[in-house]
């Protein structure tokens, strides 16, 4: 097992769900690269396809969904889309750690954390189970918990924040170097959230991970991520270094989103809501730009042509209006 942070290259990924109205894409033609050792954040509103994208990294899209096209290349694993059976199972957990969206409920209510840890060890053929427990205790201690006590507890004896930390521990304990965190702080209160985010940052740095954080809260990404990707209606509309994107958002959706966040200081009247409402799987336009209905920069071309993701230095934007500007500038 490699001890270095792996890089991930998602290319042209499309995931569809089978619905009464036919197969509809929840993730459409997404390309994204996770640099080894970086923290990437993906933001998007409910239903924009974040979780689906995250599950694709483990080739774990649940039926009635399936990966319809594209590849997910992970260093040391190859294309996970092609992985199957035991190979896939071994990759999960050992290679890729996944912290569940509802980590609150990601533990078997009938078993203690310790027993589940041992189950995990056995599943992955860990011979030195003592060592595994030691490692787990250490990780938990690292996150400010009393390891021995936590391992002896059942899920219901742990608070939300503690469960989330146990989830992180279970994702890391097998020494996975790619970690996916799906909404790691949703449903936690602010102080706990801050705490968890701090832990994520620290563990990331200490263990040399490649981390993907998924959230609907731009603040969370801003806190932890080096790179930021914005999803809308199953498309990746903008990506780039966090500070750059936040400081100078290019895509009209990103701009609107940032504008819509009330801040602690400054003129509150500057904050503006986006008009319209986010699409659902059924209402997302079949062709053309997914955002055009709510877009202030809408052009004729938006109705028919889905904008390509165009790279501009470290930034990538998928918008006709922006691309035109870039071209004009050029």
């Amino acid at each position: 097992m490699s001890k270095v942070a792996p890089g991930v290259r998602i290319d042209g990924l499309t995931v569809v769900y089978k619905t009464p109205a036919g197969e509809l894409p929840a993730v459409r033609n997404i390309s994204l690269a996770l640099e080894p050792g970086s923290i990437t954040g993906i933001v998007g509103e409910s239903g924009s396809g974040k979780s689906t994208l995250a599950l694709s990294l483990l080739n774990a899209v649940q039926p009635p969904g399936r990966i319809a096209a594209g590849s997910v290349e992970i260093d040391g694993l190859g294309d996970v889309v092609g992985l199957q059976g035991e190979a896939l199972r071994k990759a999960r957990g050992k290679h890729i750690g996944y912290v569940f969206q509802a980590a609150q409920n990601s533990l078997n209510p009938l078993k203690t954390v310790g027993k589940q840890l041992l189950d995990l060890g056995r599943s992955h053929g860990v011979e030195d189970l003592r060592g595994l427990v030691r490692e787990a205790k250490e990780l938990l201690g690292r996150m400010g918990l009393d390891g021995a006590r936590v391992l002896d507890s059942h899920q219901h004896e742990l608070s939300g924040g503690m469960r989330q930390r146990v989830g992180i521990m279970l994702a890391l304990v097998l020494n996975a170097h790619l970690v996916v965190l799906d909404e790691p702080t949703t449903a936690l209160d602010m102080i706990t959230q801050a705490n968890i985010l701090k832990i994520v940052r620290e563990v990331h740095a200490e263990r040399g991970l490649t981390t993907l954080v998924i959230t609907h809260d731009i603040g969370v990404v801003a806190e932890v991520a080096d790179r930021l990707a914005v999803m809308y209606g199953g498309r990746l509309v903008e990506q780039g270094p966090t500070r750059e994107v936040l400081g100078a958002p290019k895509h009209p959706y990103t701009r609107g989103l940032i504008k819509a966040i009330p801040r602690l200081v400054g003129d509150i009247d500057e904050a503006r809501a986006l008009p319209g409402r986010p699409p659902t799987l059924a209402t997302v336009p079949k062709e053309g730009c997914v955002f055009r209905e709510r877009c202030p920069l809408r052009m004729d071309v938006c109705d028919t042509v889905d904008p390509d993701a165009v790279a501009d230095g470290s930034r990538v934007v998928a918008c006709h209006a922006v691309t035109v500007n870039v071209k004009e500038h050029a």
Binding site: G161, A194, N195, E223, P262, P278
Partner: protein
């Protein structure tokens, strides 16, 4: 004008024959919300915000204390007598999905309270439909398209607007919005907040805003008051901007420190406060409720319970004092209502993030 003094609420958990457990949800809360005014309650999960909101909306009884609605005391009244008073206070639920009956159209949903209102005020039946259209327009919905729909045919934001419209059918004097936007898509949240603000301005409805997101509190009523609640006690209160910009209670400071910083747009505060441990409801009630988690606690904190009192700049000259703000400067910020807190060792700390441009 709605005021409460010393409101106490204790839940006795039933179902266990011998081991009944008590949850002290509110431990003597004072508040005052003027007509057309705004107040926001913030605090960690489980600190009693919802309970207080429900008590104010008359949906829950309180054990001790006094609530006055427009000067009428509620305590001596029977539940039936309280009703017309509490009707003036309407609750907006956190979850717009469950707040609407899925088996009834929006028209039916609005029709019921309106016809009741029509009967009470002796208005004709035709008024009902006019009024239904009117309240929907007030919340920014098109009556023509919305009236005949079922809730599941509407988006979350629209649903929440319908909920607000329904509350408006009885001409309330106050809306209690309990986490009214936390379940709504980020891009739509501001719309609802703006609506509440707009209703305040146009209809003179006061708004009680319950949230754990301090910034949204600011958006609904920057002229209102902010109450910081911790384990059923108000630990700090004052004008919204004052408390946000210059919190003195370590708990308030912890809350504000925890707000994520938009790196790239903002600079973090210089003196962030992190609690020593996480919230544990079973901790002892003795002394200051925050004492165990407080990085600045002193001896007094573990033995004596601090009570809410007006912050005076002189207090600032304690051993923890950090950046010394000028006394008059403080005085300037507290216009109208004073900033109050419940801490033996209050100190201003620079905890919140500020926009780059300001720094």
């Amino acid at each position: 004008m709605i005021t409460g003094t010393g409101v106490v609420k204790t839940f006795k958990q039933r179902g266990k024959m011998l081991g009944a457990r008590e949850v002290r949800a509110l431990r003597g809360v004072d508040f005052a919300i003027p007509k057309g005014g705004a107040a926001s309650f913030i605090g960690e999960s489980g600190c009693g915000k919802t309970t207080l909101g429900r008590i104010i909306a008359g949906l829950e009884d309180y054990d001790e204390g006094e609530i006055l609605i427009d000067g009428v005391s509620m305590s001596p009244l029977t539940p039936k007598q309280r009703h017309p008073h509490f009707r003036k206070i309407q609750m907006i639920h956190q979850d717009p999905y469950s707040a609407l009956n899925p088996t009834r159209t929006i028209h039916q949903t609005l029709y019921a309270p309106l016809s009741l209102r029509a009967r009470q005020t002796g208005r004709p039946g035709s008024w009902i439909d006019e009024r239904a259209a009117e309240v929907l327009s007030l919340v920014g919905l098109d009556p023509g398209t919305v009236l005949s729909r079922y809730p599941h045919q509407l988006s979350g934001g629209m649903r929440q607007r319908v909920v607000i419209a329904r509350a408006l059918t009885v001409d309330p004097e106050m809306l209690v919005a309990d986490e009214a936007v936390s379940m709504i898509d980020v891009s739509l949240r501001l719309g609802i907040l703006a609506l509440l603000k707009d209703l305040r301005e146009r209809l003179g409805v006061s708004v009680l805003f319950i949230t754990h997101d301090v910034a949204t509190a600011r958006y609904v009523g920057d002229d209102g008051e902010l109450y910081v609640i911790y384990r059923g006690q108000v630990v700090e209160r004052g004008p919204v901007d004052t408390v946000i910009a210059d919190p003195v209670h370590p708990y308030t400071q912890s809350l504000l420190s925890a707000i994520p910083v938009l790196h790239g747009l903002e600079e973090p505060g210089e003196q962030p406060v992190t609690p020593l441990e996480s919230l544990d409801e079973s901790q002892s009630d003795e002394g200051c409720l925050f004492a165990r988690r407080c990085p600045f606690r002193g001896e007094r904190c573990t033995t004596e319970r601090p009570l809410l009192h007006v912050f005076s700049p002189r207090e600032n000259t304690n051993r923890h004092s950090t950046i010394g703000l000028e006394a008059d400067e403080v005085g300037l910020r507290t216009e109208g209502v004073p900033q109050e807190h419940a801490c033996f060792y209050p100190a201003r700390r620079n905890v919140i993030a500020r926009p780059m441009s300001e720094v």
